[in-house]
Symmetry: C2
Subunit: 626 residues, 2 copies
């Protein structure tokens, strides 16, 4: 410790858990940094924000603005993917301190000569720090202050803007205090913050009932899905499905001879996590699908589910990664009294965790090599957190654009920890938020607290695992309402289709689950069933694509509306150029009406009359008042 460092730097924001974790930003976004910086006494403090790409050698620097009360602010833009480092350095500027004092002293008529000498001495020191041209000029000024024939010129030189500027460019930072630890920002592609997902089981996408669908079948339907406005196509695991202990329809214990099994029971004699289930096609088919999708500006997202069917090759090759019971059998997954005999969990407490981690990373690397840029991670909260932190950091070292979506529906601390340790996007509690109060509270938690620095939600009205009561009973209006909410409250949203657009709502009685779940059987869809939501989804996603205000979660302001069934919020783009007022009827059974408080002044609207354009119906209304 250098005891002579007099400047304190405190409370740098944004930071997550005191710098233990990185904040998140999208490529091109701005990081507005604030801190407190101060010194003892009355000397003038100057603070600079330092930032750089994690691999860069040199810091970039921007002087911070003093906001009063020792609070400072500056910003930098993150223009490249990967990690940035940032921190604050602050120091006492003895020259400015002198100059301010000198000015005050001259105003009250104190004697100038000794003061001029003190100032000139400070300039001498800057001469030794400055580049030649500036050094010469500074020396001239110091000489003038010492020896100038006219007092007026000497005073003028000491107070001149030129001197102030030259001295600001050549400060004495030998006693500067730099805040440690340096903080990190994880910079991710724009798609990390704005993506529209469509989940499908390829095996159900043949046009022929009962025939196993293939990558090629999906390939044919890519344009239709893209036309609906989706840009991420997510598949459940595409690997060989275990045959031992395979589950039958509706998760029954015994599979029939033609039951296809759950795609999440990964691995068989045909291979494990890097193999492809033969009935879907081969690697060439898959790579072609990825390419075709990319031609349409879509990405294929794969499922990364770290678990094994009992006949997964690892069970024999790496028994050290599993739990073995005293009778010599391997432990299957269970959450007592529930049993999942077709799935073996991995033992993350194994002494051989290093080889396990490397093998798991090699799977992700493998699929990246095949062209995959997005992974939906199955139940990450049931695998060790340190592993994910390591994996995502390792992957991002070479491929900082890779997106990981955490499919975790669990307790809040675990959800947030996954965001902190690097998951790009996360499933959320949106699915269980129903009332106006619930939405306002939840959105405020996500966008108005430090949660926004590390947790980027993805809002899903349905998934193969979740058919919420509202969709079971609310009919078509409920589906529309839930999608409008998802699509306008979050930059990232998604549906499980075609179940969603075909309004599938058959649930296990008393449960939030589909009956005849596609996880355990091949379904045949009536693709053009009447009342389907394809046109609505096309329209709604089109609005998302047209309006930058819907492409992030930066600005969501709730406004008063005098009806508890109506939720009103204003979305604005960070640059202020786009704004949308969204009003959602939370009651799928009845039309509702109410008076909304419109922030006319903020929107530059004339209160005496303005046009409201309903983007969904196309209608235009003349509204007035605020």
């Amino acid at each position: 410790m250098a005891g002579s460092l007099r400047v304190m730097v405190e409370s740098i924001k944004p930071s997550v858990d005191g710098g233990r974790f990185a904040i998140k930003r999208l490529e091109g976004e701005t990081v507005k940094v604030t801190c407190d910086a101060f010194a003892d006494g009355h000397d003038v403090v100057v603070a600079a924000l330092l930032y750089k790409g994690a691999k860069d050698k040199e810091w970039n620097e921007v002087r911070m603005q003093a906001l009063g009360n020792d609070h400072w602010e500056a910003a930098f833009t993150v223009s490249q993917l990967g990690f940035y480092l940032y921190t604050v350095e602050a120091w006492i500027d003895h020259f400015i301190t002198w100059q301010n004092g000198f000015r005050k002293k001259m105003e009250v008529g104190q004697a100038p000569d000794l003061e001029l000498l003190i100032g000139a001495t400070l300039i001498d020191e800057a001469v030794s720090r400055a580049k030649p041209a500036e050094a010469r000029r500074l020396a001239q000024i110091a000489k003038l202050m010492r020896e100038g024939p006219l007092l007026q010129d000497k005073l003028g030189a000491g107070l001149s803007d030129e001197l102030t500027r030259l001295m600001a460019r050549n400060p004495d930072r030998s006693e500067a205090s730099k805040h440690l630890p340096e903080l990190r920002a994880r910079v991710e592609p724009v798609k990390a913050g704005f993506s529209t997902w469509y989940e499908l089981f390829p095996r159900s996408w043949s046009n022929e009932a009962g025939k196993h669908g293939t990558f090629k079948d999906v390939e044919k339907k890519l344009p239709a899905i893209r036309n609906m406005g989706f840009d991420v196509l997510y598949f459940p695991p595409i690997h060989p499905i275990g045959e031992e202990k395979r589950k039958g329809k509706n998760n029954s214990l015994i599979a029939g001879p033609f039951d296809p099994g759950s795609p999440w029971a990964i691995g068989s004699k045909l291979g494990g996590h890097t193999a492809i289930h033969p009935q879907l096609g081969n690697l060439k088919d898959f790579k072609q699908l990825v390419k075709k999708a990319r031609d349409l500006d879509m990405e294929i997202a794969l499922d990364f589910a770290i678990q094994c069917a009992p006949d997964h090759p690892w069970v024999k090759e790496h028994p050290e990664w599993f739990n073995w019971r005293p009778d010599g059998t391997v432990q299957y997954a269970e959450n007592p009294p529930k049993r999942y005999e077709d799935v073996l969990p991995i033992n993350f407490e194994t002494k051989h965790w290093k080889s396990l981690w490397e093998e798991l990373k090699s799977i992700v690397d493998h699929w990246i090599t095949q062209g995959v840029r997005i992974f939906r991670v199955d139940n990450p909260h049931t695998k060790a957190f340190p592993f994910w932190e390591w994996l995502i950091e390792e992957i991002h070292k070479k491929n900082p654009d890779i997106i990981f979506l955490a499919e975790a529906f669990t307790r809040p601390r675990l959800m947030y920890r996954l965001g902190k340790i690097g998951f790009t996007q996360s499933y959320s509690y949106f699915t269980w938020r129903n009332t106006k109060t619930e939405f306002i509270e939840y959105i405020n938690e996500l966008t108005q607290t430090e949660v926004k620095e590390f947790y980027r939600p993805n809002f899903w009205p349905n998934t193969p695992d979740i058919l919420m009561p509202g969709l079971q009973h609310g009919g078509r209006p409920a589906f529309i309402m839930r999608y409008v909410l998802a699509a306008t409250l979050s930059g990232n949203c998604g549906i499980y289709g075609p179940a969603f657009e075909l309004l599938w709502n058959e649930a296990h009685p008393g449960k939030e689950e589909y009956t005849n779940n596609e996880k355990y059987e091949i379904r045949s869809w009536n693709w053009d069933a009447p009342g389907n939501l394809k046109d609505f989804l096309t329209l709604m996603n089109g609005i998302r694509n047209d309006h930058s205000s819907l492409q992030s979660m930066d600005e969501i302001g709730f406004y008063y509306i005098d009806n508890d069934q109506l939720l009103a919020y204003l979305r604005r783009s960070p640059d202020g150029k786009d704004a949308l007022l969204v009003i959602v009827n939370l009651d799928p059974y009845n039309a509702q009406s109410g008076w909304v408080q419109v922030p006319c002044q903020e929107l530059g609207l004339n209160e005496t009359g303005y046009e409201a354009h309903d983007l969904l119906s196309g209608s235009r209304y003349t509204w007035q008042g605020t």
Copy 2:
């Protein structure tokens, strides 16, 4: 990093700036610690609070209580002065996990045999960790579970309370996660939180007008001050006063031949910070005064002002600690355009800061050796923060009971930083809080935010430097009102006397300062002036001494009263045994009345009628309603 550590420990509270600084507690107080702790998956997590005195080898431990949602709580008591360390360790309890699952499985009739074997294996492992007696018993139970003749006995053994208890005493903590950094608590004497200060200039305390007062004069008046209820007697610097550039009355530039100078212009040919101004007496007199005070349960607090008169011995002995100007003269203190020619500041940026720090510490050590336990530090915010942090920590290593009061009236971040780096008590903004809203806001900031963990205010209605407008114009009622506020809102308070109890209110016009300030002259007091507040102070301080609710800032709850000139608050002691309702009229000019909301239920009062005892007037009233 051990990748197999699956438990995460987050958000330990209380902590200051993520553990950078210690929290503060008083001897005998409790530290209630909360944290989040969780693991991936469904395994049972157990958390323990670890704590110890900083010098102890072994951790003490208390199991934390799960509050739900991965939030945990436990508490420990700090029974010795100095630093404590505390942190949380958490681990997965595979036995409890097994036992819970086993119970559920048995309830639904799953096969028991393999489960019993798994449980017995976990017990085997505990046998190797347990002490002999417990190991033997555990081995018996495991054997019973494996080989018992009756299924019922085997099941019973696996689920028995005895086994649960034995296993909880012998957990497998090889994969436990300990939160780092360990956090620190600074434990200080009870007086750090409850003290009543009286500041006086000994030189004005002779009974003979114009005669320089002495320690012996003060000694005679100790009982009277103690009778008023004060237990800390604080003196401005008692060191030789500089003769060079000495200031005259009212801070005039030229001192007359009999002007005594400011005690803060420390040092002359007679000595520096370890010497005593001869006119006050000698070291023997001082030590006798300290002893007499302690006999009365009072402490003498000395002023520690790090600055020098121009004739302080250091200027010649240690020129390297001062700022020198180009003309070879030493820089005096200034805050342009103000100049303080009689005071030289120390240059904390000196390359010789180590020798400077040691010398300053030796001063504190010197006075501790003479019996001083309390230091009021003059303007600590104009000396380097790292110095104070080092000094206080060093002093507390040998003498953890030493109290440092920061006399800083400056910007908020500096005030709070001084608290964080170790000052026991701090001057506060109380002096400039006047309205009901201001008091409620300020007290809530001090007691309801993390500020309470590191900043312990001391409320002063007046000081030799500050005569606030309310006291200038409000007369006797204003003095009483300000003292009631100070004495009932803060565990620590103080006055500058006898100016206060004699209602001295002569100010420089337009300034918050006394005219004919005692800093620059010896004053002669009319000790028994009519209307003096001695009886009131005796009564008010007596109430403080009698009511533990007033001896900390732990519980201050404001209650509604329908008059903005009236401030009502309930004080309660941490143990709930003492409670006082305080109602203060903030208007010194008029009587005010209002209806107050009394928390009858909380206080166990019968709303239909209860007695209100006015402790100041002695009157008793029958109140009713809430």
